[in-house]
Symmetry: C2
Subunit: 618 residues, 2 copies
């Protein structure tokens, strides 16, 4: 159907319901009732309002659609069938091993999915990132449609997004809220009180339209109003019924996430199986995706012996990277004076995005911009990136290419105390699928790694230090991801000290102290925490027999564990000692903190002496 | 001063400013300007409205105060001096090594601090937990006062709290919002537009009062209005100036988190040092803290050979625990039908708290209730607890005693796909300071561990499995935290298989298959992931020489790393092989998922055969 009538759209909606029921029945699981409530919203969106060339997902003028309520994937896949993107055979592979049609949609398997959903409350924040890209970077007139559930509006991340979109006047963003009254375990807070949602959204500067979500004409009017509203994002609040159209399921509790009991009867009740096709309007001609201005990369250079904070090197390197590459964008969580992202902001204000103290929105905006082809660097304190853990996890499910930078890592920050200390960030980022985790110790290393992250797929994490550290490397040294640097080495090394970031200087000082009493130590700067340099670590293990790791992080999940990854295949494992932050720090000066935590040079030297004196090491 | 006049309160406010400047100057760091904006709010609160016996922090009638903008700690400590709780000498230890007066306040060191703050946007959600405890559990008339910054209102967690408090009509909760217009790096989104905040809060059902935050009379009127408002929480929106009272600092950018440049001049400008004392009104006589009904604990019992999901055992055990102990409360993130916390809700509805899909508020409410002496169990999907990572981290800084339960762990959930799979939760919870991490494999073990967590201090985490697993242990077996169970053992064991939860059955099956071809394996059920049973692991290492871990989790930070903790002190380390989820799973049935991930019995058996055939193991 092209330019479908209301009646045709109503029949399309019934087909989407029928197919949702069919796929869930075939799979023996899934969320048909959550799909059925939104069938008219989807039918009208596709038939009348969305502009998208499904044959060219990369078309710059394409509208974007995010199914924030990702569990309604049957509806999405039923739509793909109606769009002619998949056939009925494939549709029925839903949730089977090897199928592209997973329980929750993901761009890993489907070219039409913008971003993985399934953890609720993430679609709108990511949509904000896309809408920002459309308005401020690409300047193409595409619209971002986000279909939300009502339950997920309880997530704070949604309100971070609502605030951000309202404040930025993102009139290219529309939230389609399927207010079906029922969450997973029962009624939502506000039931069918559309006004309750409208009041909240309006207070944040949104335009709202309420409608009967099962009346094609009303939905059409609402979506048209959204498209014609200028200066504000619009939320279409659609009153719907979960399980709509099947008496045994409609508006009933206890049926969330379950196939219908009598699918054949239900399908008959809905008018039977059909094979309607819908055509989506083509997007207008649009210029190709934002030009990537490729200029010369002129990274900052620091002289050996200088002292520079790696956070400053990050800010300077990112600024240089931004000058060389037009696709690089920076996002801040209202701490850019601390993370030093402000340097980028001053140089490239058009590509700098202030997300205020809203780390979930910060990461989500990065994900949205990455989906539009940009290369985002989002930074905050390492400690506060824990706020966005679930978004990082989901970004990995999406296969998103984003870089996150956490400053003020570890006890080395000093007096501010434990609330501000990133002590769990390495564990968090290492556990993310196919992540890259980097922890530089000097300015030149930081600069190189910032640039390398731009080319690295997946989730990149760079950990920076608050205080100044000595420049150990020349500005032309290279630091490949997956590598390490051997800073001290001899045939007589009895222990290998493995450090990164703030503890590299401590390890070097300890090695010097130990050399004075005749104990030779190898020192490895493990700047690439993941992937880890197994070759160098294994050689050190063979040659010295004992590894001692020292890290400004909790004992769990950080550098010590990264080192042991090199020996997790059954080969002989060296003796191993781990120095890490095992107490709860208070306030103190940086050097005092390192001492209290037992991760300073003295602690390293004492540990090695103990190993030697007790003949643990040769 | 008792019953102070407006003029006396104004002078008290000046003293609080002066002392804030003094402590930051002494420390060489800290946030005097953020303290100065809120001086009148604090002076009026203490002098006229708060009811608290500081000599008896445990008094059940005490009002509660949370400094959500924890960086304004100079103001708090200056108030402690004015209250006579600390002397001027101690005040000047601010931020020094060993001082109780840390950069951000924590109950670890100070009896008057309810909860650690410093990560913004957490005070109000925790305050909601306390206010809920006051209203629904203790039923004492105390009031919860939360002092917020304006910047932190950008955090989604604040809006989870605002929604929760509005919906629950928490008229015993007051937010004092210090709208000083300036965040860390510059102006906030809304500057001094108090109406912008008022509109948002009112839309969520809050009463709001706007006032000049430097006019003692206006502040007094606003706080009185908050106290007399029934059926709604109140937000006092105070228009203030950062650095108020010192011309060189007042309302100026770039001075966040910095001592004043000329403290002596500033102090003179404010009228000099003074030593006013303020007395807070006593709370009314109130009955002692909620009685803990200690009854007989009648845990569920499962018979060997039965199959039961550990999530069901959790729900049943928690219900039994709730019958035995009146201090046990359960909190749900709108998935209680999945986590099985709903069983508790049916049996003990008065102690069951629905937090909807708002995991930050879920954990924060638990923290607030724990601060009031309750023993909370908060549950959601393991995957979604990542949403609350920063709250868990801060709960550890507080030393809070809370238990979190994550269901639907790992690929074993099956078809729903990676968005719903907890695959990073062990890494996240292990890295939390002094946490306890448990992962039971059968119903009886689960029941015992649920009960043990109630007695365990700190952050407890229990990981449950969606599908049914065989009951391996009798109902009277004990499972001490820090222990493990050796399920197969002989003198001829060539490898030790270490598993927990969903993979225990796989390890046992593999051991049986391997026994058939003459390869004896030890099998350890590592139900206590942290603390880990070093004695048993070390013995197994000595006796078998090789450990193989198999876990339904990412390779980083989980069971494999927990096992290696037992060998991180320089002793000989056994050979080690780690089987974990290294790919990105899609949708498939549970058994298919375990197979795809290479963590089923066949994968374990194949790995062991390879070790034997390549002579890696004896």
């Amino acid at each position: 159907m092209t330019q479908p009538t209301d009646d045709e759209l109503a029949r399309l909606a019934q087909q989407l319901r029928v197919d949702s029921i069919r796929v869930a029945a075939a799979a023996g699981s899934g969320h048909p009732t959550s799909s059925m409530s939104a069938a008219e919203l989807m039918a009208v969106l596709l038939g009348r309002h969305m502009r998208h060339d499904f044959g060219r997902p990369e078309h710059p003028g394409n509208d974007r659609f995010i199914l924030s309520k990702g569990h309604a994937s049957p509806l999405l896949y039923a739509s793909y069938k109606a769009l002619g993107l998949i056939d009925d055979d494939e549709l029925r592979t839903f949730r089977a091993l090897g199928s592209r049609l997973e329980g929750h949609p993901t761009p890993r398997t489907l070219p039409w999915v913008e971003v993985a959903t399934g953890s609720l409350g993430q679609g709108l924040p990511v949509g904000v990132g896309m809408a920002l890209a459309g308005k401020r970077l690409e300047r193409v007139g595409y619209r971002v449609w986000v279909m939300c559930g009502d339950s997920e509006l309880a997530e704070g991340s949604v309100w971070e997004a609502v605030e951000h979109a309202g404040h930025e006047h993102l009139d290219n963003l529309t939230a389609l809220v399927d207010v079906n009254r029922l969450g997973q375990r029962g009624p939502t807070r506000h039931g069918h009180d559309l006004d309750a949602y409208a009041r909240r959204l309006q207070a944040f500067g949104w335009h709202t339209v309420e409608c009967d979500g099962h009346d094609v004409h009303e939905v059409d009017r609402a979506l048209a109003e959204a498209r014609s509203t200028l200066g504000q994002p619009t939320a279409v609040l659609a009153r719907t019924l979960k399980g709509k159209g099947v008496a045994a399921a409609e508006d009933r509790e206890g049926l969330h996430g379950k196939p219908l009991k009598n699918p054949e009867e239900a399908i008959a009740e809905l008018g039977g199986v059909s094979d309607l096709r819908v055509e989506v309007q083509q997007p207008p001609a649009a210029r190709v995706l934002h030009a990537v201005h490729s200029g010369h990369l002129d990274l900052p250079r620091y002289e050996k012996g200088e002292e520079v904070a790696t956070r400053s090197a990050y800010g300077q390197a990112l600024t240089a990277l931004g000058a060389a590459r037009g696709d690089v964008v920076a996002l801040d969580g209202e701490v850019s004076d601390s993370t030093k992202a402000e340097l980028f902001g001053k140089e490239h204000p058009e590509r700098f995005f202030e997300c205020y103290i809203a780390e979930q929105q910060l990461v989500a905006a990065a994900v949205g911009m990455a989906a539009r082809g940009f290369t985002p660097y989002a930074s905050s304190f390492a400690a506060f990136l824990t706020r966005a853990h679930d978004f990082v996890r989901m970004a990995a499910v999406s296969g998103a290419n984003i870089n996150l930078v956490g400053s003020h890592a570890g006890v080395a920050i000093g007096q501010d105390g434990p609330s501000q200390m990133g002590l769990e960030d390495l564990a968090m980022f290492r556990s993310v699928h196919e992540s890259t985790v980097l922890y530089p110790c000097d300015g030149n290393q930081t600069a190189q790694l910032v640039a390398e992250l731009a080319e690295r797929p997946g989730i990149g994490y760079l950990r920076t230090t608050r205080g100044a550290t000595p420049v150990l490397y020349g500005p032309d040294e290279s630091f490949p991801i997956g590598g390490s640097k051997v800073l001290r080495s001899s045939d007589k090394d009895r222990v290998t000290l493995v450090a990164a970031g703030a503890t590299v200087r401590e390890a070097l000082d300890a090695a010097d102290q130990l050399a004075e009493i005749g104990i030779a130590c190898r020192v490895i700067d493990l700047y690439s925490v993941k992937p880890v340099d197994t070759t160098t670590l294994r050689a050190a293990a063979e040659q010295t027999g004992c590894l001692l790791t020292v890290e400004d992080h909790r004992p769990e999940g950080g550098i010590g564990d990264a080192v042991l990854e090199a020996f997790a295949d059954g080969r002989p494992v060296p003796r191993f000692v781990r120095l890490a932050v095992r107490h709860m720090p208070g306030s103190a000066k940086p050097a005092e903190q390192l001492r209290s935590a037992g991760i300073d040079a003295a602690a390293v030297a004492a540990a090695v002496r103990l190993l030697v004196e007790t003949a643990v090491v040769r």
